[in-house]
Amino acid sequence: MNEELFISGRDNLNIDPVLHIWHWQIPVYLFLGGLAAGLLFFASLYTIQNKDKEYRTAVKIAPFLAPFALILGLIALFLDLKHKLFFWQLYTTIRLESPMSWGAWTLMIITPLSMIWAASYIKEIFPNWDWKFKWLIQFDKWVVKNRKVFAWLNIYYAIILGVYTGILLSAFNARPLWNTSLLGPLFLVSGLSTGAATIMWMSKDQAERKMFSKIDLILIGIELFFIVHLFMGFLASSQVQIEAANLFLGGEYTAMFWIFVVGIGLIIPAVLETLELLGKHIPVFVPATLILIGGLVFRFIMVDAGQVTRYLY
């Protein structure tokens, strides 16, 4: 038998023995970013399709959460920076090679867009709101008139934001678990699913709830399909990626991933939503919370496990 012993004299903080440079801030941001992307996607989609009357919660109410989610996410990102006072350096350059650079610019654009979207519905929801300034009233009128343009901008940036949360990770060469282009679509679908679950939860309208239940079921199906393909891809790849997959197929993340992400976050809510559609009464917050918890845990596991995987030499 050939054994190999590896002894390193390096002991840098947060690098050794296992890389752990990203803590809770990054998964929290990835979750909030995905959620905001999901909320804005559905709001814009149904505006473009002229269904804003049928899906009132999706178009007019749920998007109020998006700016808050984005701002909390940005705060988390800021807390993660270790050279905080230099954060503005992000906005002195655009580096297309670096997903983090165009992600930072995407956030710079979509955060104000989400605020404008939410603010333009204040009048409809709180008719007695006093706007005080004339230019604000005019700006509001202009936004309402150009609603479709804003919807197109929003849907475009929401998709970029959703994909970005995954691509951010897959751009890092050194972490085999992240080195897959599937991560972008997987994080996008997961983000849309958390958005749909939130809308379903907030909606008081039976028809809208049913619709988002159905959407969520489809998204969960796609997510499961992606997860299976993720592991198939890893297992057919190089040794470092086989080892990355094995963390979830018998390794230390197995129980956490399959119970919390796949079981509680995907399969149980899918079963509950199917029962609901078949006519059984299930309190809507149960599947919705489970999906949100699953989405959050998924991001924590991916960020944490990714940092464990590395090249061996």
């Binding site: 903080l13 993660d80 230099f86």
Partner: protein, 177 residues
């Protein structure tokens, strides 16, 4: 011009003199290091083979750290040396995540720090601190584009390898085997 380093794994005794020299020369904060010694023992006793390596940033041709940096703080200097502009670095950790050699660390002051091939010495025509102190003279430094530099000569005459070539980074630290 393309700076590179060749390190003789058969001459290295793992004394860590290169590590101490680097920490002194570059004021590396206590508890951190820019270069380090790795010892691998392969086989089953008594049939074992030991390899000692002095490791550091590989100053790759295709550096993932430079590609991932959102501000351009990580960049190539003349001769392919990869360094970090401290006042452009935001400490996001992207480069640390992207380095297959884990050669970067987060400096207590916030920015990311790493081996610079002692750029400040090389510019003056001196060798990096680690190379100049090595008691067994197992390290060679120089310009790969110059066929007569000591690193080019030693690489012509000896078998050599790089670490994790499958990562596609085209590293420029060569280990003579």
């Amino acid at each position: 011009m393309r700076y590179a380093m060749a390190i003789d794994t058969r001459k290295c005794v793992g004394c860590s003199d290169c590590v101490v020299a680097c920490q002194t020369e570059n004021n590396v904060p206590i508890g951190y290091c820019r270069d380090w010694i790795v010892e691998t023992v392969a086989g089953t006793y008594p049939n074992v083979e030991i390899e000692l390596r002095s490791e550091r940033c590989n100053h790759c041709d295709n550096s993932p750290c430079v590609r991932c940096c959102p501000t351009g703080a990580s960049h190539y200097e003349e001769g392919g040396i990869v360094t970090v502009h401290h006042n452009e670095c935001i400490g996001c950790g992207a480069c640390i995540q992207s380095c297959p050699y884990d050669a970067r660390y987060s400096h207590p002051e916030g920015y990311v720090d790493k081996c610079t091939f002692c750029l400040h010495r090389v510019e003056k025509g001196q060798k990096p601190a680690c190379v100049s102190v090595c008691p067994t003279k197992c390290m060679y430094f120089g310009d790969l584009d110059d066929p007569n530099s000591e690193v080019s000569v030693v690489m012509r005459n000896r078998n050599h390898k790089v670490l994790a070539p499958e990562a596609g980074t085209k590293p420029h630290i060569f280990y003579l085997t």
